[in-house]
């Protein structure tokens, strides 16, 4: 006899006995895709990773994640041309995240709070010589020192920083910021020898007992062009003008300054001339604005400050107080062609900003090197043809920016470390890029980019005060929270919420989620409703 109630013949039970996971033909899996910002960063920063911590207001942790790849955030937050922001998916929604301004905030905060790098790993006993204390050399020294190698930097100049000090004007990078970030690297135990020019790299390595060397001497020799000129015509080059800005004697350029060239250096020197008191600073460039290599926002800032630009012009002759300029025309290939039409410009001085060459004298007699177009060739591991000698920054073929140089330093450090151990460094395979179509943008709040404050125009024309201001804590937090976290879970609970089968297990803050494949029917709702594209459907094994 059953002792069950009347008319009840079966034992009641829970539906948990019914494993609906067997219905599934595809299964959802959590994954991390590569955010486009990270992919675009020449220094290989984990931008999404550090913004994640900044979003919750943990700035120190954000900074620590940042400096795993780049030891110069306060510098970077000022001088980087932020290719990350051009790649940012949010640009397709309203406007890209102000990554650069948050980076600067974190860098400044670190200086203000006195945060120090994590202690280096135990000493390896290996010694590495770094030649040049520019961004590339400092970056390599930092990464090598963190792994535990003894690093000595030999710098030919009187101060560290390279082009960050002797090329980039103060109004873009205040020197106390640079000094603070350089000092923090030296505090790791890196030895810096100033006014120490390497004449022969092989000899220096042998005498100093170094196991490897990283060369990053930059490109400091100004390119010249032949311009017929009278004996007294005042012609100088942009590199020496910008370098002398760091010395006691400021360059004498006069009231009417003409700058010849169209790169960022031409812009920097024209803006510097304006600040030194020139009534007119005129850039002469042989092509058009669209073809100008200088970054558009810098051109714009220069024009705001009263710098004038004479397009489609070449300088034919220089005399005392005047220049002869020929008007050019673009042919059908976009190449400027002379027209034979000349005019005269008044000019107290002419500054040539026609690019820079590398001083390769320290490499004389070194075997195995390959030099093409004045730059040292390196293979994928940043090593020159001479075993144990690596090179990076402006002296190897690349885009010549601070960020690229920092990236070279990091990459070289990893390969030098592997080489010192007789191994080969294999970078981790890049995961798939989290493109905009992988996101569900519905879930992101509408919020436009925070505009950074700019110094007023009169002070920009008369002083070397920093032009672009930084964010404060409130708007830096706002800006960080505009990040879409592309391709990486930020624990929004959507997958956990939208599953009709309760087949997502929430593991708790910081631990993410897990699928319960016993019950997951494979509907794909979690994938469709994941804002950031951190889940994918994969076919079930048959």
């Amino acid at each position: 006899m059953s002792n069950r109630p009347f008319a009840i013949t079966l034992k009641p039970g829970t539906s948990l006995a019914n494993l609906t996971g067997t219905w599934r033909t595809e299964r959802p899996v959590y994954l991390s895709r590569l955010p486009p910002c990270n992919n675009a960063c020449p220094a290989g920063e984990n931008i999404q990773g550090w913004l994640f911590h900044a979003e919750s207001g943990d700035y120190e942790q954000a900074w620590r994640v940042l400096v795993q790849n780049n030891p110069l955030p306060a510098v970077m937050g000022r001088v980087c041309y932020h290719p990350c922001e051009n790649a940012c998916n949010r640009g397709q929604l309203d406007s890209s995240v102000g990554i650069n301004s948050v980076e600067r905030f974190l860098g400044d905060e670190a200086i203000k709070q006195g945060w120090k790098f994590d202690a280096p790993l135990p000493a390896t006993g290996k010694r590495v010589l770094v030649v040049g204390a520019g961004p590339s050399g400092l970056s390599a020294a930092y990464h090598l020192a963190r792994i535990g190698h003894r690093v000595e930097i030999h710098e030919a100049g009187p101060l560290a920083g390279g082009m960050m000090r002797f090329g980039i004007p103060k109004y873009r990078l205040p020197r106390e910021v640079l000094d603070a970030e350089v000092q923090r690297i030296l505090d790791l135990g890196v030895t810096l020898k100033l006014n120490t020019r390497i004449e022969n790299i092989e000899l220096s390595m042998k005498n100093g007992g170094f196991d490897a060397a990283f060369l990053a001497v930059g490109a400091h020799i100004a390119k010249r062009t032949y311009i017929p000129s009278g004996d007294a015509a005042h012609i100088v080059d942009a590199v020496s003008v910008l370098r002398s800005m760091e010395g006691e004697e400021k360059p004498m350029l006069g009231r009417r300054v003409v700058v010849y060239g169209g790169g960022n250096t031409a812009i920097d020197v024209a803006r510097t001339a304006k600040r030194l008191g020139a009534t007119e600073a005129i850039i002469v460039y042989r092509r058009t604005r669209e073809k100008m290599p200088a970054h558009d926002f810098e051109v714009e800032e220069a024009l705001q400050e009263g710098v004038m630009i004479k397009w489609l012009s070449t300088i034919k002759q220089a005399e005392v107080g005047s220049l002869t300029v020929e008007r050019m025309e673009l042919d059908e290939h976009g190449v400027p062609q002379p027209t034979g039409e000349f005019e005269t410009m008044e000019a107290d001085s002419l500054v040539l900003a026609l690019g820079q060459d590398v001083d390769l004298s320290l490499l004389e007699g070194v075997s195995g090197l390959e030099i093409i177009n004045g730059t040292v060739q390196v293979s994928n591991n940043m090593m020159t043809g001479h075993p144990g000698i690596f090179a990076g920054g402006d002296m190897v073929p690349s885009e010549r920016t601070v960020t690229v140089a920092v990236g070279h330093g990091k990459k070289a450090a990893r390969h030098i470390d592997a080489w010192l151990q007789g191994a080969k460094f294999e970078p981790a395979a890049k995961s798939e890029i989290a493109t905009f179509d992988k996101l569900n943008p519905w879930y992101y709040s509408d919020a436009d980019k925070t505009v950074r404050p700019m110094l007023d125009i009169i002070r920009r024309q008369t002083s070397f005060d920093e032009v672009q201001g930084g964010l404060n804590e409130t708007n830096a937090l706002f800006e960080a929270r505009r990040c879409l976290s592309c391709g990486n879970c930020f624990e929004c609970d959507n997958c956990y919420g939208v599953c009709p089968d309760n087949a997502v297990i929430k593991l708790g803050p910081g631990k993410g989620f897990q699928f319960n494949y016993d019950y997951c029917k494979g509907c794909g709702l979690c994938v469709a409703e994941c804002p950031c594209g951190a889940i994918a459907m994969v076919p079930e094994e048959t």
């Binding site: 829970t14 709040s445 505009r482 929004c492 919420g497 409703e529």
Partner: protein, 333 residues
Amino acid sequence: MGFQPVKFYQTGTYTVGNRLLSDAERSVQGGELRSNSINSGHRACQGCGEALGARYAIDAAMAGSNNQLIAVNATGCLEVFSTPYPESSWQVPWIHSLFGNAPAVATGVAAAMKVKGRTEVRVVAQGGDGSTTDIGFGCLSGMFERNDDVLYICYDNEAYMNTGVQRSSATPPAARTATTMPVGAEPGNPFGQGKNLPEIAMAHGIPYVATATVADLRDLEYKVRRAMTIRGARYIHLSVPCPLGWGTASSDTIRIARLAKECGMFPVFEAEYGEVTGVSKIRHQVAVEDYLKPQKRFAHLFGKTPHPETVARIQAIADRNIRKYGLLEEGGN
């Protein structure tokens, strides 16, 4: 309206959870300790909007009643897929009687609790659009009219789905069902028929009526929890897309529900004593075409012989909703 969305913590309150919000601002569904009123192992189709909506609503009702809740279920998908005897997915006290009598049974449960002095125990009745708008409508109207202390939740998937997609009085115009085939001059379900149950409920003058959608969890939770603070007859009408009956991908359920709201076909509002007191505005307006096209039940409007005039008539319905409820006006949420 009472629900104050958080505008900007990266995703604000658009997502189910948000690690940047304080505990008090978080949703029931985002919590690790939500009651999971309807458990895993139920037999709803992949991507079922009703299974999802039922968990959203009953978990919120549990949270709003200090877990003192009895659920009464009408016949329908929800009952069939959750409780094939002797199994059940329900983790709340739950009773099913007939297709048409859920409101009356709920009335009885509430009366019994009152007699026993157990007034802290709250009663929810629930059913699909078939049991609500057609078969149980008489009992429901009576429950409203007597102002019985029951929250009635209708999960509207716009047809009788578990019996093979037959038309109900909640099926929209032009939709193909097993009983409204896309043939003749006006293919699909005829225009000008059917019932607007939220407005009928409002006409009873009951304390609280609201519409909600599985595409807006925070709004849904707010409305259920608000309903649980009120005594008397309350009605919530929930839009729950059905991948099977609507002919949509199982992963599209929430997207379709969102489009229904954003095009104006499903106005989301709340009303007290017969007057509208709050409206959920359209955030990114879309044409009804964007909502209709992904659904196979409307495929005949866009096939080899398209029916733009029919689409225009449906757009007119959406436009009327937008006008009537002020779905695009400034202010509000």
